[in-house]
Symmetry: C2
Subunit: 326 residues, 2 copies
C-alpha cells in the first residue's frame, strides 16, 4: 500500500502520481548499472511518506507551485532511498518490501557506490533551482543526523542497559528529524511564514517520533505477512526498542530477557521467548501510550494559519500513523 | 610527503597549514565514533592535492579572500576522504598510507555511515556561505561522476578486452573530472572571468588524466616501500590499466598475460609474471608518453590572464605530477 492511496492525502493525489515518473527520470543515468539499480529501487515502491509530507507542507505557503516543488520532493525520496540502500548493505539484507535489495542483486560495491550516487543526485536536484541555500543546508543537515542516528544505533546493539533517553535520542536522529525537515522545507520553499515553518517542523518531529515508536511496536506485535519480515527482527539484530527497554525494567522475567537480548548468537526459540516476555509485560501498552502522546502533540502544534484542507490532511496523517499495522 | 612541502605550492603554503586545522574542526561531531573516525582520517594525512589546486585556482581571481575560500577547500578534501573510506570498504582494504582504514578499525557499518556523514558534512560546509548555487551544483556533479567512474571500473574488472577508450572514460570520471572541478570552482569562487574558469578546468582535467596515468604506471613500475602497497595491486584487483591494455595488444606473451589478468584466483607468482610481461613490453613507455602529452597540454591551456606566481605554481604542479614516484 502506498500513501497516495490513503484518502488523507487526496489533496496531493495528483502530485504523488507525478512523483513516480519524476523519480524514474531522476534515477536515470548513462551508466547502465546505476540506471538499472535506480529503476529497480523506484519500482520496488515505498510509502513515499517523506515527499508526501513535504508536498503537503508546501501547500501551506502562498508560493506553492507544483512544477517548482517537484525536484525537492524527488530529492527527499532519493535521500531516503540512498539511506535504505546503505542500511541494507550494513545489515546484509536480502529483501526489502518483497523485492531483492540492491546489494543482493548487484553486490555491495554497486550498492555502496550507487547509494553515494543517489545522495549526490539529490543535491544536484535541489541546487541551481532557486530554492535558496537554506534548503540545501537543511538537506545536508538531515543526512548528517540520519547517519549519526544509525551510528548511535549500531553502537548500542545488544545492550540491555539502554536508557529511554538514549532510545529517544536515537529515534529522533534516525526518523523524527527527517520528517520534521520535510515539513519545514515544504513551508520554507512555498514562502510560508517563519511561524508556520516552525509549527510544521514540530508537527513533523512529533509524528516522526510516533512513526518510529509504531515501527518498533510492530516488530513486537505485528503480523509477519503484513510486515514483510518476521516479528522480533529488531531483537535478533540487537536493536533494543522501547517495549523491550520497558520490559527489561518491569517484567518479572527481566533477567531472562536481558540474557537473550544481549546474546549475539540468540536462536529462533530465544527470540520467540523474548517476544513472549515483552508481550506479557506492559512494554507494548507503555510504548503505545508514548506514540499516542506524540500524535496528540502533533495535532496540537499544527499551525492555525494554513489552508483548512492541508490542516485536515495533516490530522489524518497523524491518525494514520497511529493506526498502521504494516 | 604532503604537497605543502613541495616548493611549487609556496604561494599557498600558509593556506595549506591552516587547512589541517580546519579539516580537524570540520570532522568534529558530538557522536564519539564519528569524531574519532574523522580525526583519524585527517591525521592519517594525504597529499591534499585537490584543495591545493582549488586554493591555487582561487588566487587567480580578483575576489580571493582566504577566510572565505577555506570552507570550500575543506569540503573538497572531505569529499575525497569520504570516497576513499567507501572505496576501502569495497576493497576490504586494511591499510591506507600506512594507517589502518576506517573499516579495519571500526567495521563496515561505521565506515559506510561515516562516509555518508562526511559527504553530507561537505555539502553543509558549502551551503549558506554565499558561494552561490553554481558551486553546489559542481560539487554534487563531481560526486556523481566519481561514483559513476568507480562503478564503471568495478564493472570492467578482470576483462582483457578493455579498450583504450573505455580506460580513458573511466579515469576521466574517476580522477580528471574531480581535479578539473577543483580548479574551475577556485576560479568561480574568486570571481575570475569565464575564460579563466574554463582554462583552469581544462588544465585540471589534463593534469588529472596525467595523475591517474602516473598512478597506474607506478603500480607497474613502482617501489613497494614508497607506494605503501605491493606493485601489481591493480592487476591483482582485476583493474586493467593502460600499460596492461597496451601489452595485451602488443606483447608476444599477450595470450599468457590475458590468461592471468582475467583469472580472479591469480596467485602471487602469476601477478609477478604479469608484471614482468608488461614491463618487457612497450606498455610502460606508451603510457608514460600519454601522461607526458597530457602534461604538455595542461601547460598549454593555462590561461594567460592569471597572476604570474599562480601560473608558475600550476606549471610546477604539472612537472611534479610527471616526476612523482609515490
Amino acid at each position: 500500500m502506498q500513501i497516495e492511496d490513503v484518502t488523507m492525502f487526496q489533496v496531493i493525489k495528483k502530485d504523488m502520481a507525478a512523483l513516480e515518473d519524476e523519480l524514474l527520470r531522476a534515477v536515470s543515468s548513462p551508466v547502465p548499472l546505476l540506471r538499472e539499480m535506480g529503476t529497480h529501487l523506484v519500482r520496488s515502491g515505498g510509502k513515499r511518506l517523506r515527499p508526501a509530507l513535504y508536498l503537503l507542507a508546501a501547500r501551506s505557503g502562498p508560493a506553492f507551485e507544483e512544477a517548482r516543488m517537484m525536484p525537492l520532493a524527488v530529492a527527499i525520496e532519493i535521500i531516503h532511498m540512498a539511506s535504505l540502500v546503505h542500511d541494507d548493505v550494513i545489515d546484509s539484507a536480502d529483501t526489502r518490501r518483497g523485492s531483492p535489495t540492491a546489494n543482493a542483486r548487484w553486490g555491495n560495491q554497486v550498492a555502496i557506490l550507487g547509494g553515494d550516487y543517489l545522495f549526490a543526485q539529490a543535491f544536484t536536484l535541489v541546487s541551481g533551482r532557486g530554492y535558496g541555500e537554506e534548503i540545501a543546508v537543511r538537506l545536508a543537515d538531515l543526512v548528517r543526523e540520519l547517519t549519526a542516528g544509525e551510528i548511535l544505533q549500531d553502537s548500542s546493539l545488544y545492550r540491555a542497559e539502554l536508557s529511554e533517553a538514549e532510545y529517544y535520542q536515537r529515534i529522533e536522529k534516525k526518523t523524527a528529524h527527517f520528517l520534521a525537515i520535510c515539513c519545514e522545507i515544504g513551508a520554507i520553499s512555498a514562502q510560508a511564514s517563519a511561524a508556520v515553518a516552525r509549527g510544521l517542523y514540530e508537527y513533523g518531529h512529533a509524528i516522526g517520533m510516533a512513526f518510529q515508536l509504531t515501527d518498533d511496536l510492530l516488530d513486537v506485535t505485528g503480523d509477519a505477512a503484513k510486515l514483510g519480515k518476521p516479528a522480533g527482527h529488531d531483537i535478533r539484530q540487537g536493536v533494543v526498542t522501547l517495549p523491550v527497554i520497558r520490559a527489561l525494567d518491569q517484567s518479572p522475567n527481566r533477567a531472562e530477557l536481558a540474557a537473550i537480548v544481549t546474546d549475539e548468537g540468540m536462536t529462533d526459540a530465544m527470540v520467540a521467548r523474548a517476544l513472549a516476555i515483552v508481550r506479557a509485560s506492559d512494554g507494548v501498552a507503555y510504548a503505545q501510550a508514548k506514540a499516542d502522546e506524540y500524535l496528540t502533540q502533533a495535532k496540537a502544534v499544527l499551525p492555525e494559519a494554513i489552508p483548512e484542507a492541508v490542516r485536515r490532511a495533516f490530522i489524518k496523517a497523524a491518525d494514520y500513523i497511529g493506526r498502521r499495522d504494516f
